[in-house]
Amino acid sequence: MTTSTPGMGAAPVLSAAERRARSNGLIRAAIYAVVGVLALGAGLFRLPASQTTTYRLVFDNAAIRLPDLTVPVGGTYAVAGVICLAVAAFQLLRPANLAWRRQLAIVAFTLIAAVLTGILGGKTPSLVGLIAAMVSFALPIVFAGLAAIFAERSGVFNIGIEGIILLGASATAVGGSILHSPYGGILIGVFAGLLLGLLLAVLSIRYRVDQIIAGTVLNLAAAGITTFMYTRILQVKPEFNAPGLVGTTPIPGLSEIPIIGPALFNGSIFLYVGYALIILMQLAIYRTRWGLRLRAAGENPNAAGTIGIDVLQIRYRSLAASGAVAGLGGAYLVVVSTGSFQIGMSAGIGFIGIAAMIFGGWKPVGVAMAALVFGFARSAESRLGTVGVDVPTVFLSILPYVVTIIVVAGLVGRVRVPAAAGQPYEQA
């Protein structure tokens, strides 16, 4: 509460925000340091030097061959420890909480990598596959996260993304089947998402339904209606659930780059659309008139409204865009990963997308990075099982959720949310 900001210490020159940033920074540095020391210690003294993990760097059919990379487990831990310590030192030298998200991403990434290498000791997993899976897992999260950004930047909190993905997926399946074209299906799915975004806008703007309730309604209605329609129609007439698949389009040359090429340049059209969306949105939000107005609508709609900007129109359009991008995510699930609609296929991606938005600081590029971190967690989880490692994976499963709670609670750094997000705006 505003009234009870406890004064910590009595350093007179610092504002409360700065003090908080500094103490957060110190806490972070301490945590990084402790983890770093532990990792380093484990790497140097606890783990047998002989144990190694061999990563395969290229696919079997790759044009450019690279030899396998054999890394000592202890060494990996040691390197991870050194990196953590370096980040800690960097943090101590630069007391402000600059780029804490980046620090956190580096540390998390390094540690997961070290632990992974440790667990995989003695096996020969495919590093390039691990990275490819990371990107693939990240892609739908990116769509969900971008959808969340569209909405929240304009001042509307959209928790209905999960439902839009599900409905978008079913629309894609049915539309693509009727049109006999997966691409037609994508269009239908995106259009359905757009309409649902508009529905959310109409509910929350025209009818003043609380934004969170409107989103919840959408999620519940989506789960109910898609299951109902599946059992009643798609089950009986599977020909309505066969939209076909969209193939992968490797980019010549780039897709042959060892390690990252297959992950980043050998995907479906969705991957490239994803890149384009991330870059265009990042530029548009910060460099264009549209973006300026969008941000104004999300930060102080009254300011925008009084100088003649139609805030409601911005919100309607942004929610339509939000829905369309979420619909695209749903379409992805259907025409790339499944080839048909399945009950409950959204599997929580909408919520992880919101998490990615927060972790990514409401920025498209940030969302992409957050999605990669979450994708890495899932990719690691999947890879561990693949090579037969005997560990329970519940901790990796809940990682994105725990990370999000830590981030929203500001336990690691300050989070800046669009000031008007979640608040209705009344335009006379």
């Binding site: 696919f59 079997d60 059919n61 997993p125 495919s126 390039v128 596959g129 490819a132 899976a133 693939s136 897992f137 739908p140 299951t227 599946y230 059992t231 089950q235 599977p238 066969a242 698949l245 193939g247 992968t248 699930l333 790339v336 990963s337 499944t338 080839g339 048909s340 399945q342 009950i343 409950g344 296929m345 599997a347 929580g348 991606i349 899932r378 990719s379 989880e381 999947s382 890879r383 099982g385 693949t386 090579v387 037969g388 490692v389 005997d390 560990v391 329970p392 994976t393 519940v394 499963s397």
Partner: protein
Amino acid sequence: MSTRLLALGASAAIVFAACGGGASAAPTTAPTSAASAAASGTPAPSAAAAFKACLVTDTGGLGDKGFNDNALKGLQDAKKAGYATEIKNLESKKDADYTSNIDALVADNCQSITTVGFNMGDATKAGAAANKDVAFSIVDNAYDPPIANVTGIVFATEQAGMLAGYLAAGVSATGKIGTYGGLPIPPVTAFMDGLWAGIKYYNQENGKNVTLLGYDPSKPKGGVLATAGNPWGDTDFGNQQANAFFQEGVDIVVPVAGGTGIGSFTAAKQAQAAGKKVYAIGVDTDQYITAPGFESVILTSIQKIIDKAVADTIHLAQQGTKGGTNYVGTLANGGVGIAPFHNLANLVPAALQTGLDALKGKISAGTVKVADYLK
């Protein structure tokens, strides 16, 4: 004003719909409509041959293209075959629905009730105890000792799995098979145990070193699970997981995770489009048929012939045998098996087919036991 009229019209429509519905649902008309039969309140005195067979599906329910759907098919087949004159099915949405659904079906005068899934074991037992005149059966669960009016329908899935493992080992060019499950529970792991045993048997027979990725019976916690989002419907995970296997050199993937598996079939199809020779093995039903669109991918399916077992049990019930036994579907009695190779028959050379037939004979005869190959 026009909106007001519209609203009035809509309201009037409800009222008149009520009239129309009431009329058409009058007890004496249209006896074929299920709706009207139920609307009549008290059951009409049934003809001597009438037999009502009913089904309760598990949570997760229909649409799994697996055991729930297949059990329903069994129920429908029973009606087609004339074992039952009327059929009903209810979906469970939560644990508390099991008992409730059973009770509702009992109250609806079902003479035979089939439940699907070991989750319903206790509810079925209790229902059977309270309704001794109703013939119960349960898929994927058996009772020891058997209950007088319950037929436990279980499957020696591992036997069929072993055949599939043998087949896969013979077909695989890379010598690596991959599998994953939705949850580490017996109906899932039985498939995997079978695969493991079949591969091991193949290796011993042929001196090869084919391996199974994603499952090791000696490491029960390990293995790949699709638990993160939705164990039985996270198709994106299914796709990614299959890709992960392919990247590790696997060329035959066996998903045991309901709808999630559809994603894996898709991944295989996509990999084929990219020029890889990879295949998948279906589970529960012949997924070549039940999951259309993957004809080029599905080498075979490890089948639990649930539909036939359910239909047969209903038939027995109709004839007066209410239970008291556990039906175990085995290779020997045709209760489990592997599906035809359909489009991919050319992948199975005659020698391999001979080996398969031999193994099938040995398992049926009991000279080869899955359990012996799980170490």
